[in-house]
Symmetry: C2
Subunit: 310 residues, 2 copies
């Protein structure tokens, strides 16, 4: 990546500075994508930590103060907080500013935020499909978005130039960008992200509450597959609670499909239908190959995990 000749935006305000906000800040700073980064957080300790890490140019607890004169405002908060934060900053937004977010749910977030967006301010929701199991300002890094997709979901009638500018910003952050309707986004992410997280949380919970197998056995022998799920199930609890509460319909629809298929598999095991199992297990292998082929995962065995010695 080469640094821009000219910043894409004069002032960027980041409301929330966890994994995603912190990664935007680091990349924007490293590549000179914006003239000024204002950071606002709800908790004083987080703000202090962001300052210690030197993630921005100005810091304040009041989001309305942070967005003053900002050309681009990005909410990096759990989706359940989107409406309240938008309400809090609405009066301070500069005419012509772009307001965006990074939430993993889009339909509900549009419903929460749009009513508070003032006339003359552009609202362009977005969702970078990237992350790790870690959270907080320390966990961000400048390369997080490289080769990942960012989905932009402008409501009907959004100013095309504003959409273009936000797309340009995410491209400069390293992302590929796709424009999609909010409802389609929510369905696609329910199956590619929300249900995977739900079943990961669920199996880790199940394993922890068995009478016949101890938690220490589960931990010791986790390299048989279980440990992969614990990584996902270590994701930020507040963020994920909000995802499930705010993408309820799509999650329940996809969960219904998952359970239906799981019952079919259960039946195949019960009745010893080896061919059906073999057929499924062969087809799923091909999907892995496609994901590696399009550059969305590493081809290294076991994710290229290094040694795990203590």
């Amino acid at each position: 990546m080469t640094a821009s000749d000219k910043p894409l935006f004069g002032k960027l305000a980041l409301i929330g500075i966890g994994l995603i906000g912190g990664s935007i800040a680091r990349r924007a700073r490293r590549d000179g994508l914006v003239g000024h980064i204002a950071i606002s957080t709800r908790r004083a300790e987080t703000l202090e930590r962001a300052r210690e890490l030197d993630l921005g140019d100005s810091y304040c607890l009041d989001p309305a103060q942070a967005v003053k004169d900002a050309d681009l405002v990005i909410l990096c908060v759990p989706v359940g907080a989107s409406g309240a934060v938008t309400e809090a900053i609405a009066g301070a937004l500069k005419p012509g500013a772009i307001v965006s977010d990074v939430g993993s749910v889009k339909g509900d977030v549009v419903k929460q935020m749009q009513p508070f967006i003032p006339q003359g301010v552009h609202f362009v929701p977005a969702h970078p499909v990237a992350g790790t199991e870690q959270s907080g300002p320390d966990s961000g890094f400048a390369d997080l978005f490289d080769e990942r997709w960012c989905i932009v979901t402008p409501p009907e009638g959004t100013d095309a130039a504003a959409v273009d500018r936000l797309v340009g910003f995410w491209t400069a952050l390293g992302s590929n960008v796709e424009v999609m309707e909010p409802e389609r986004h929510d369905l696609v992410l329910a199956i590619t992200s929300h249900i995977p997280h739900l079943i990961a949380y669920n199996i880790v919970g199940t394993a922890a509450h068995l009478e016949k197998v101890t938690a220490s056995e589960v931990i010791k022998f986790s390299a048989g597959g279980f440990r992969d799920f614990t990584r996902i199930a270590a994701s930020d609890p507040t963020m994920w609670r909000d995802v499930f509460l705010h993408n309820k319909d799509a999650v329940l629809e996809m969960l219904g499909r998952f359970i239906e298929d799981l019952f079919a598999l259960q039946r195949s095991i019960r009745f010893g239908e080896g061919d059906k199992l073999y057929d499924l297990f062969t087809r799923t292998r091909a999907i892995r190959r496609s994901i590696v082929d399009v550059g969305q995962d590493t081809s290294a065995p076991d994710f290229g995990r290094g040694p795990t010695k203590r």
Copy 2:
């Protein structure tokens, strides 16, 4: 690791030379753990490939010929083949030899193999809890077992000295070793390995068969969590078909628990019980920490995945 002064066994016969057999061969050779490695496979191409890779000292398609004069025989075949292979080699086994296996199921494998073990031959089943999603002779590597657990499940009355020698061999391969009853092994592995694989296969299957979301969307946006499951769901189809068919009872029991918990979670989402979701998501985080603490997974975010650029 230092090479042994004296080989632990004179002749080792490996029946099957995929990921596990190939890794045993590489490590045993590198560290001089045995005097001679005889390799036998069902398919001539696999045997030829093992020879090209120089994994052993002698190669033959007939397993009975391979086990002649062998001090240690390890079956590295899908668990469904354990009985037939044992029957085929039984007459050629040397008195005092140790026969073992690496199957992911132990109760059923003991039932399959034990009837064919001749008087004076020691039967010590084992299961190294290690692997990657890859298979075949090329996929093995000498360090696969480092810091992983190998579970040894000797049937009642097994010669203690024979158990000790097999434990010594697995320790030399890099493993920690735990001795356990076959039935307990099957229950522990059902939750730590078999159910994780089953639900990974299942969600990848579900995602591939939706009408409302295309396979190309699933692949493109897989970095939201889904891609982790595709790695596990790329595991060897024959091996895993056999695991589910031969550990049916424990798998169905644990699957019942998983589904019960999933329904509770579904209900919490439907009725907006945010506190219940938050509590579960917080508890699961602690289990991840324990797994990293005991050295069973890397502490690097995202498994330390490298860049995935094409």
